[in-house]
């Protein structure tokens, strides 16, 4: 689905690169979480995939044009902006030239937000706002869904609802999901793959392999290397 070859990037265009010679292959139908410390360029990688930024070197090939994007809420959002949920979705519908007017109700209904259609976006809670942005992203029936920190500023109950909804889309509709995550628990629970960003590099793991690495590291920190542990 996404093939990243020798990707390097810096905001100045010169070295040192903050993303340096990355090679990744993200398969169709996977759920990949991008994790890493603050400033490890997780969101930058996503913006490069979305072509919001231009790579200094290398290339990114995406096997579809049908991309849904849920931006980081705090990045996008001005809570004083006078716009209703219906207006946000209607505007998106016009831009994507979608003829079927029922799509707004259908998208909102799928995520349980139909009752909020005529509400101002600024009057909704963090979780409700995030659901609206997900509904917007789904209107174009995307094959690839990219989310930037979907749980930021969202209460636990809404977080669980959002993650299970995304997981359902991934499994039932075979939508490839890429999610920038600061929520490690959610990343391990929902993803099939993990991309770990560290020191300008990115490593792709199968989630079960990554769990093993975490467990090994945790035991090492306690001085209990797995090889030295006896099974009871």
């Amino acid at each position: 689905m996404i093939e990243i070859k020798n990707l390097s990037f810096s905001y100045t265009g010169d070295m040192p690169y903050i993303i340096n010679d990355i090679n990744l292959n993200i398969s169709k139908g996977t759920y990949t979480s991008i994790i890493g410390k603050n400033g490890s360029c997780k969101s930058t990688l996503v913006k490069l995939i979305l072509k919001l930024l231009k790579p200094c070197k290398g290339s990114i090939n995406i096997g579809t044009n049908k991309i849904g994007y849920v931006p980081q809420r705090m990045d996008t959002f001005n809570s004083q902006f006078p716009i209703t949920v219906n207006e946000i979705l209607k505007c998106h519908m016009h831009i994507l030239k979608i003829k079927n007017k029922d799509i707004i109700d259908k998208s909102l209904d799928s995520i349980g937000m139909l009752d909020f259609k005529n509400h101002l976006i600024g009057n909704l809670s963090g979780g409700q706002q995030q659901k609206i942005f997900i509904a917007r992203a789904l209107m174009g029936e995307p094959e690839l869904l990219i989310l930037d920190e979907p749980s930021t500023g969202v209460d636990i109950k809404s977080q669980n609802e959002i993650y299970s909804f995304i997981k359902e889309l991934n499994i039932n509709k075979q939508i490839t999901v890429i999610s920038v995550e600061h929520n490690m628990e959610a990343a391990l629970k929902n993803s099939s793959h993990i991309i770990k960003m560290q020191d300008a590099k990115a490593l792709l793991y199968d989630v079960s392999d990554y769990r093993k690495i975490i467990n090994t590291n945790a035991l090492s920190e306690k001085g209990l290397h797995p090889k030295n542990c006896k099974q009871s």
């Binding site: 716009i83 505007c91 831009i95």
Partner: protein
């Protein structure tokens, strides 16, 4: 008073302005770029000064110069992404520098004051036709680009991902702002145009409704501001720019007081 041709011309011009200024103003204010109106009004001053020195239509000269400055602002935005206010200072400095230099040479062939403070006496048929042409083009462009402008204003990166050519739309919008300001200077005056761009929107925002409601109510508030301001200026015989600006503040204050009383 309506039997006077100059009043008829002024009222027709006022209708154009009351539609255009709040229309572009809504997007500018919500982009947190309302000071762009102020900067471009100074740019239009340089254009007017140039027109008066070379003896050409000052509104057309203002339109050309303001448009160039608007495009320059948009171009420089890529260089000062995190300090966009400084771009406005750069363009304002250039414009005021040119305007003062030209006017202080004493070669301007008409009274600059009417452009600074606005005038209902000086709107000629030629001005009216120029304003009509610019207004029609601007309104058509706003209608065509409405959804794209709204998307970009609300969520610029989302708009880009959705396939909107954000740069092109931003450049066209910059030209629209330039056109709006240059055709408003006759009535409003250079010094207070920006109030007509921001004040009706500031009032409409207090209604706490959706975008379309805010957009159209800002046009209604703009119409009230400008018509009441023009009538007052006629009766007390002063420049309309000042009375329109004062009216716009009074309308906003009235709404704030009304809200305070209603929700007390």
């Amino acid at each position: 008073m309506f039997e006077y041709t100059f009043i008829q011309n002024a009222l027709i011009a006022a209708i154009f302005i009351s539609i255009l200024c709040p229309s572009v103003g809504t997007f500018l204010v919500l982009k947190r770029y309302s000071m762009m109106g102020d900067t471009l009004s100074h740019a239009s001053f340089a254009g007017v000064a140039l027109g008066l020195v070379i003896n050409r239509n000052p509104i057309i000269c203002a339109f050309i110069f303001t448009s160039v400055c608007a495009l320059l602002i948009e171009y420089l935005r890529n260089y000062y992404k995190k300090f966009s206010e400084i771009i406005l200072v750069i363009v304002m400095t250039l414009s005021v520098g040119i305007a003062i230099t030209l006017i202080s040479t004493g070669k301007t062939k008409a009274n600059v004051n009417s452009y600074l403070f606005g005038s209902i006496l000086t709107v000629s048929k030629v001005d009216l036709y120029t304003m009509l042409a610019l207004s029609i083009i601007s309104v058509i462009l706003i209608c065509i680009l409405f959804n794209k402008l709204l998307y970009i204003t609300f969520d610029e990166s989302g708009a880009e991902v959705a396939g909107i050519n954000v740069n092109s739309v931003n450049y066209i919008f910059a030209l629209l702002v330039g056109a709006t300001i240059s055709l408003s200077i006759r009535i409003m005056g250079i010094l207070v145009i920006s109030s007509m761009i921001a004040m009706p929107v500031a009032t409409a925002l207090q209604l706490n409704k959706g975008f379309k409601f805010t957009f159209f109510s800002s046009i209604v508030f703009g119409f009230i501001d400008i018509i009441v301001g023009l009538l007052i200026s006629f009766y007390i015989d002063c420049a309309p720019g000042g009375t329109i600006a004062i009216t716009s503040v009074l309308v906003l204050l009235s709404l704030l007081i009304f809200k305070k009383i209603k929700y007390a």
